[in-house]
Amino acid sequence: MPDPAAATMDLPRRDARDKLQGRTRYTVDRGGAGTLQAVLLRAEVASARILRLDTAKARSMPGVRAIVTAEDAPGRHGIGIADHPLFATGCVRYDGEPLAAVAAETLEQAEAAAAAIAVELEPLPAVIEMAQALTPDAPLVHPDWRDYEVLLAGAARAGNVAWEATVVRGDVDAAFARADVTIVDSVFRVGRQNHLSFEPRAVVASYEDGRFHIETSTQVPWSVRATTAKLLGIAPSQVRVTVPAVGGGFGLKFDCALEPFAALLARASGRPVKLVNSRREEMLTCLCRENAEIRIRSAVTAEGEIVGREAVVLMDCGAYGGEQIFLTTMTAHTLGGNYRLGAVRLASRAVYTNTAPNGAFRACNGVYNTFALERHTDEICAAIGMDRLAFRRRNVLGDGDLGATGQVFEGDVLGPMLDKMVALRAEKPSRAPRAEGRLHGRASVVGTWFVFVGPSAATVNLNPDGSATLVTSGVEIGSGSMVQALPQIVAAELGLKPEDVVVRTADTDAAGYDVGVGGGRTTVSLGAASTAACVEVRRKMLKVAADMLETAPEDLVLAKGRVEIVGIPGSGVTIAEIAARAQSLTGPISGSGAFTGPGVAAMPGCAAGHFIEALDIPVFAVHDCEVAVDPDTGHVEVLAYTVVQDVGRALNRRAIAGQIQGGVVQGLGYALHEEMSIGPDGRILQSGLETYRVPLAEDVVPVEIHLHEGAPSIGPLGVKGAGEVPILNVGAAIACAVADATGRRVQELPLTPPRVLALLREREGPLELAHIAKDWREKVLG
């Protein structure tokens, strides 16, 4: 077992030089001579019956090489339920839904042909808001929902409720009926967040020798392979997916997207086809972090014990279920997380509306549920007159405590992290003087997230020049895992320099299955599979070396590109010599490794409709922030921001700090000014960067970062993924600090200046959410 210290370093990124010289070729930069340009014809209404779609005229236009429509792709795909056809089929369910795809010699020709497709639509009533979708006589987004193929059994569904996941543990009614408790009831609402990855979704597809080759900007090559095959009605082995450098993902690219359109066009035309979303298309159809509505109630004793908690979360999945079906699972671990609970019941519902489908975005459902939970926690503290930090310190989950689904948590992690934050607060003077007449507020909040484990495969080839090649389905989306953590791990395992580890980027023809890059899983799952592959390589190397050195393998160590006899430096041979010798005697040395989540147990019978009942690797974070709120304009300035993050073991502290700074800033955008709104006709109103306001350099502060190491983790060398969680607590920290500054009940994000002014001037009454009934039984199906 190599020394973990050998894997710990600030390895620079090997992709930085090309990126700094404009040489990196992302998918948007690809597609050579002879590549056709494609566009999608998209519907411009939220709900309609398709009466006619006639492509005859368009097909005869100059330069047009192929047009495909719903007839060419009859299948449906989805997560949990197969509800999503590739093209609008029979009816249109959202503004922006694809109707046809066109490939032509030039983009202008493709656009002209798309515009020439004759479309006749008969408008149908649309449901735009969840409250509307849940009324008893609401039009159904999917009238045939009962007939869809169910891919995971066990969830309640009905009408516009696409999916309902529930948790029931203990006797909540009895807890709420106790005479010694205070009942605190809170409601919250959040809007959508657009990833705005700088590289839009993009693909170049070709069809050669009866197989598809898809070069694409994705986080999930194997999902692209499976979904493309399903929609085209072919075997997945007929699809090869390769992934160049990805220009940002943040979860947007955690689902199959444009690939099947390009594949169909490539087959129909016999030419390579490039399809890239315009920025407007990305804004209007991006798989956003979903808008959500939350009611959470707790029964708390005067001492601060949470004896009962119940909550309902409505998640807008848009016109198709997508990731939201899966993400209903997360409510148990996020809104039901952080604290020890007596009895608990939670319901999380994905609701269909006639709006663009939503998807996964960094720490997905956790970001708004943490906002709701932490604001609710502060409302509890106010109601029972308890200090906010003392309440948290008393109640955070510790070693042996039960989570919402009855999972037993291991180790005291959040408590010591909170203590650390308290100590940090004490060390530095408050920035209150910098508020200069504005309202100063401060908050420390906690959050629980997880590493999404699951299957990964890796192969390591030892080369006769003493280098190693790591082959996986991993993708470099910008987080650095593929260029920093993975070569560091393999190098330490094999006694090589990380520069001598070649890391192959995803090619589904070359590497085994992988769930994909997201959920903080690259370093953990791909790292564990790589470690297992290295174990085999090392065993073979040591056997060859032992023969060469006439000693036992146990007496050998690997370091600095050499194998040495223990205690006798300079005694051994180089790894290059071993590799060359093995190659001539027995053939080249290679090893393969695999990993998957072990499946931590929940309490049987607690959870229904869940994809994950318990967290294999929980990850915790504590954030503290200070804000100044301008009482005249409602503008919120962040004065200081501090993060204590549980990382298990930090392999590359500098890279982790870069992820934390970037993740916090994305969270500041979400908390303060990134607002997506939907017009009454179901169209997203922010169609570009002029109206969708992301953080600029002047909006942000340097985040003070403290890494908490040593918490239990099944990851290789005890690591946990570090890139996903930095955004988790930010909405909560800002909202609680603004509530602290203003003395107002913050119930919504983002806290744009008009919203803050409305709060300060008490222009609107409190948010009510009457459609989420107070009686839990009235608001669940199952």
């Binding site: 990805v246 940002g248 700074q661 350099a697």
Partner: protein
């Protein structure tokens, strides 16, 4: 044909005069460093130098670049990374990398005019350059370092 100088070389483009300079660089000359992210002048990822001044090449029609000198990120490293590029690498500033071609063109020009900037000045100079990944601070650190070492 429109004649212009690109990275020190005389070039002629057969695109129409209203074609955005960005598309000419990317599609015709295969200089794909400058990126099309918003095409509206907000993100700065397409920034190039036109007669030495940073411009959003998505908003410049080819006709307006006729006879003028264009410099792109591909020409920034002459014989080795520029001081600014080197500082970005040293600070581990790069993530997905899509914003850097534009960031570098903006900052290269800014540091030429403001050799000893304050942190606030660097941030103000980046008002037209968005980065979605890094949270900016390291980019600012690197720019300040590049200025100090100049």
């Amino acid at each position: 044909m429109t004649a212009l100088t690109v990275n020190g070389e005389e070039r002629a483009s057969r695109s129409g005069p209203m074609t955005p300079l960005l598309d000419v660089l990317r599609e015709e000359f295969f200089l794909t460093g400058a990126k099309a992210v918003c095409r509206e002048g907000f993100c700065g990822a397409c920034t190039v130098h036109l007669d030495g001044e940073p411009v959003a090449s998505c908003l410049v029609p080819l006709g307006a670049a006729a006879g003028r000198e264009v410099r792109t990120v591909e020409a920034l490293a002459a014989g080795g990374l520029s001081r600014l590029q080197q500082a970005m690498e040293d600070h581990d500033a790069v993530q997905c990398g899509m914003c850097f071609p534009g960031m570098l063109m903006t900052l290269t020009d800014f540091l030429r005019h403001t050799p000893a900037p304050t942190r606030a000045e660097v941030k103000a100079a980046l008002a037209g350059n968005i980065c979605r990944c890094t949270g900016y601070e390291r980019i600012v650190d690197a720019a300040l370092d590049a200025a100090r070492s100049a």
